[in-house]
């Protein structure tokens, strides 16, 4: 067994929920940057809407500009507050900005947002925006384990990241015809037992990003990983390792870790 419940610190903040059935799942929380982008986009949308409305009103009230200003001022104010509250309330926790940046507001128990929660968290913006540029809200987000601004704390909501996910496809290293590490079943077994999930995903990521890394970075990263595996986890015989490039070494290691799990060849 390699994976017991989190002994590591999560790399990003997450909400952990244990269901009544004893299933534990985690939801990744949205950081302040993504949320700021979403807010900026939403602000732009609101401004555009208000301006569009403004020119329409100006046209309608051409003879009575005072009343035009009244309509615009009130509409601007109402739209500013109602835009996010209504959209989040009826569109399952998303505004247009949040949808584009793959964010969603949810109840902190993992449920969809309720209408009154949407209103409370958006009315509380007047406080979160203090003294300028969402400083109070930003400090609250950074100091809260659930990344909540004050409005979220009061409404009992939080913002999660929802990057679309598909069931992972098969990777090339799971389909190796021949893997020289399999000739040393005892050592391969040791590697499989000792590797933590983090180490496993590190190797997987290193191989997947092969083409994104510069040659120098790739060489250094692969060498470090190989040295670590070879010295600390599972030393394969020198005569085998000498024949392999670092990349091939990692490829083989990934094959051992993620390949055919039936141990038929071991």
């Amino acid at each position: 067994m390699t994976d017991s419940e989190p002994t590591r610190l999560p790399t990003t903040a997450e909400l952990t929920i244990a269901t009544p059935e004893g299933v534990v799942f985690r939801l990744p929380l949205a950081g302040p940057a993504a949320r700021l982008y979403a807010v900026l986009l939403d602000t732009a949308i609101v401004l555009a809407a208000v301006n569009g409305l403004g020119s329409l009103v100006y046209f309608i009230f051409a003879k009575a500009p005072g009343f035009g200003i009244m309509v615009i001022t009130l509409a601007e104010f109402a739209i500013g507050f109602a835009y996010a509250a209504l959209l989040e309330g009826f569109w399952n926790g998303q505004t247009i900005g949040k949808r584009l940046f793959h964010l969603r507001v949810i109840d902190q128990a993992g449920f969809p947002l309720r209408v009154e929660q949407a209103w409370v968290r958006n009315l509380m913006r007047v406080f979160d925006a203090l003294p300028f540029a969402y400083l109070a809200g930003g400090i609250s987000v950074l100091s809260s384990p659930l990344m909540q601004r004050f409005g979220d704390r009061v409404a009992g909501t939080l913002v999660v990241r929802e990057t679309p996910l598909a069931a992972p496809a098969e990777e090339s290293w799971t389909r190796q015809k021949y893997n020289s590490f399999m000739d040393y079943p005892a050592i391969a077994m040791r590697l499989r037992r000792a590797a933590t999930p983090e180490l496993g995903s590190l190797i997987q990521d290193a191989l997947r990003r092969r083409n994104e890394l510069t040659p120098y970075a790739r060489r250094e990263i692969y060498r470090e990983l190989t040295t670590y595996l070879q010295n600390e986890i599972a030393p394969f015989p020198d005569e085998l390792v000498e024949m392999l490039s670092d990349e091939q070494y990692l490829f083989n290691a990934a094959g051992v870790l993620f390949g055919d799990q039936r141990l038929s060849r071991l």
Partner: protein, 343 residues
């Protein structure tokens, strides 16, 4: 690592995609209601996928797959355990109209926070009034604007109509919108400042009170008591109580946050807070219109006595509305809730 991931994924994959399709269909539905067949199907798929997740978490090294399954289980969990509100009700005008009775009910339920807000404002008023009365230096500090410091000049201008423009109704309309949005914003801030455990709310109310007291004292001192009453009362009759209600909402929020987490009924509390805000916003709309269209007209157009009478009538109506409209909590119910709060 126990699992044969390839075989596992090949076997379980179809039910994952089935669950994904079902979820997509449900999430697209505005009322999120399930029919019995779907509910059963969702329950089954949720249970199976949860157990798949458990197996992947504890028996395999597959971070991507685990993340995918976690997301799937999270969505199914939300659909299965979430009791959707009657969303269709929200679109019925009758439920919107209920706000007119629900607001005074909420006001009465939380009246002790209103009393606290009033007390702080009155203290501020007293301080402002006394300072202006007995300390000439305080006038400069407390009343920075010239028109507040020298009432005589202002009264002259106002009564002569120097501040009026041609097309007055137009200007007044724009002015009323300005007032309404500004006042609602300030009130909302007072209510939101409850998150500072009420300290911010108290400071804001106190400052407001000091200014009010200082202006009233200054004008009265110089013999313009009737003028200032006629000037402020027609809109103040709604504006000042609504700021007090904002303070009430702020203190209510503060008290809620000071409670232990398990003692909070957040759902009810949020509705209560929102009701107070919605009510005071409506009051401020009225106050803004009165301030722009009515308060700014002075004698001889509108006699001061008439203006004061209108203001007083408003105040009486508002009091009657806040104290009598809506369902009254029966004594027994009230006692139960008091007992629960004391626990």
């Amino acid at each position: 690592m126990i699992l044969d991931l390839q075989r596992f994924q090949a076997q379980a994959g179809p039910r994952w995609s089935k669950l994904e399709m079902l979820l997509a269909a449900l999430e697209g539905r505005p009322d999120r209601r399930l029919n019995p067949v779907e509910a059963e199907q969702l329950q089954d798929l949720y249970a199976q996928t949860s157990s798949d997740l458990n197996r992947v978490t504890h028996g395999a090294l597959a971070p991507d797959l685990r993340q995918y399954l976690e997301r799937l289980v999270a969505r199914a969990y939300a659909e299965l355990y979430y009791a959707p509100p009657m969303r269709s009700e929200i679109w019925q005008p009758r439920s919107w109209l209920r706000i007119f009775t629900a607001f005074p009910e909420a006001f009465r339920r939380q009246s002790r926070y209103f009393a606290l807000a009033t007390l702080i404002t009155v203290l501020g008023c007293a301080l402002g009034g006394l300072a202006v009365r007995y300390d000439t230096a305080a006038v400069e500090v407390l009343l920075p604007a010239n028109y507040l410091r020298n009432p005589g000049q202002r009264v002259n201008e106002e009564t002569k109509g120097q501040n009026r423009h041609p097309g007055t109704a137009q200007v007044e309309a724009a002015f009323s919108a300005e007032l309404i949005t500004h006042n609602i914003q300030v009130a909302l801030l007072a209510a939101a400042l409850g998150v500072t455990f009420g300290i911010g709310t108290a400071l804001l109310l106190f400052e407001n009170g000091v200014l009010l007291g200082a202006v009233a004292a200054r004008y009265t001192q110089q013999g313009f008591g009737l003028f200032v009453t006629a000037w402020l009362l027609p809109h103040g009759a709604f504006e000042i109580p609504s700021i007090l209600i904002a303070g009430q909402a702020g203190f209510y929020l503060a008290r809620l946050l000071l409670r232990r987490r398990e003692d909070r009924d957040m759902r009810r509390a949020m509705r209560e807070w929102l009701l107070l805000i919605a009510g005071l916003a409506l009051m401020l709309v009225w106050a803004g219109m009165m301030e722009a269209f009515f308060s700014q007209h002075h004698a001889p157009v509108l006699p001061y006595g008439f203006k004061v009478a209108v203001g007083a009538a408003e105040l009486v109506l508002l009091t009657v509305y806040l104290l009598l409209i809506g369902r009254r909590e029966r004594a027994a119910e009230a006692q139960v809730s008091v007992a629960a709060e004391r626990k």
